[in-house]
Symmetry: C2
DNA sequence: CGTTGATCTGAACGATCCGTTCCGTCACTA
DNA sequence: TAGTGACGGAACGGATCGTTCAGATCAACG
């Protein structure tokens, strides 16, 4: 999916006292490509700057921490992922989980989230970024799936958060242990347990 | 002649052509203390060597990677954690999860596991260590809980692995997002969902 | 009793990355 | 025209990594 598009090292100077959109795009593209090609292991601000033909101070000006850049990459990609509404909880969860794993596999987003979680273990600011600026927003569509199911009476409204946490945990442990290959039967069985539909 | 009484970092020379148990104990104690005091953020081989009064080559000889040392610390601590057998799945899971979170909070084990998972995201060897040398062994007691429940007919034997994965995911996401404070009601509600006992 | 071999520490190495600072250049704006 | 702020580049001090070397120690072996 991610083809290497090495920008020729041409000079991209300032365009005056305002942010240069070309620079922003070049940095984002470099970060995307680096994550997609080498995963989080090969990700560093230095290498992003090299690839983007940008200065490190420029990157640190707009993305003050590594977590900021990872979140920006994930958010930019996440527009391609939409939560389904098929009218039944297990079907919604299964469909969305399959889509999510494919989304993680086929681009930089999976590696970005891995890095976001890994970084959070080392710095207090990373943990805060993960919880407040990532989880809080990225979980909304899935929470909506559970909320709709509660509206239909499939689960109790008070159970939404508990079951949502289970869904998150299942996906995290698969992502972080490197097992997000396509496995529809496994996903469907697991979603049934999470939904409580035995 | 030693003029200064440096209690922990005294000179500890070789004892011949065999491993020095004092050195091993000093390294393990240093790693434990560092993790317990500063968490994974302050954990480095350099600092462990400083605290243990050991040379870095000595550490790298016996624990070739950071993951090895983290696993060693976790394993040494885990002797204090035993899985219960209360005759009923939800009770076993709730009791064990409460114990596990306390175990993670009150010593170096939680930070060690955080680091183990974080390291795994950067290096292929770390990921392998996590899966093959940690998960495979550490999950056995909990798998036994599910297996006993299957023997009693509480769940189907074919569901053991799926429900076990959900249990792992729940604990990981709480640990990695820094929320393993004591919360018995939350744990009990979640264990009920995992056990399928609505 | 001497040789061999494996171990221990400490010092140093090259490399990487971090986050920051300074500088000269540039283009928009007032 | 003067001011402002972004840009790239170079360099910095600091930390850590994983490795290599040297010197000292002591057990096991012949």
């Amino acid at each position: 999916m991610a083809t290497v598009t090495e920008t020729p090292p041409r000079r991209r100077a300032s365009i005056g006292s305002r942010r240069n959109p070309e620079t922003e795009a070049a940095v984002m593209a470099a970060a995307r490509g680096l994550l997609a090609e080498q995963g989080y292991g090969g990700f560093s601000i230095e290498e992003v700057a090299r690839r983007a033909g940008a200065g490190k101070p420029t990157i640190y000006r707009w993305w003050p921490s590594k977590s900021d850049l990872l979140i920006a990459v994930y958010d930019a990609e996440a527009a391609a992922l939409r939560a389904p509404d098929l009218g039944e909880l297990v079907r919604d969860l299964s469909r969305h989980t399959i889509d999510l794993w494919r989304f993680w596999r086929s681009g930089p987003a999976g590696a970005a989230l891995c890095g976001l979680i890994a970084d959070a273990q080392g710095s207090g600011t990373g943990l805060e970024a993960l919880r407040e600026r990532f989880l809080a927003e990225r979980l909304a569509p899935v929470r909506a799936i559970f909320a709709r199911a509660a509206g239909r009476g499939e689960i109790k409204p008070a159970e939404v958060e508990d079951r949502l946490a289970l869904w998150v945990g299942f996906n995290w442990v698969r992502l972080l242990s490197g097992r997000i290959e396509d496995d529809a039967p496994l996903i469907r069985r697991t979603m049934k347990v999470i939904a409580g539909s035995t």
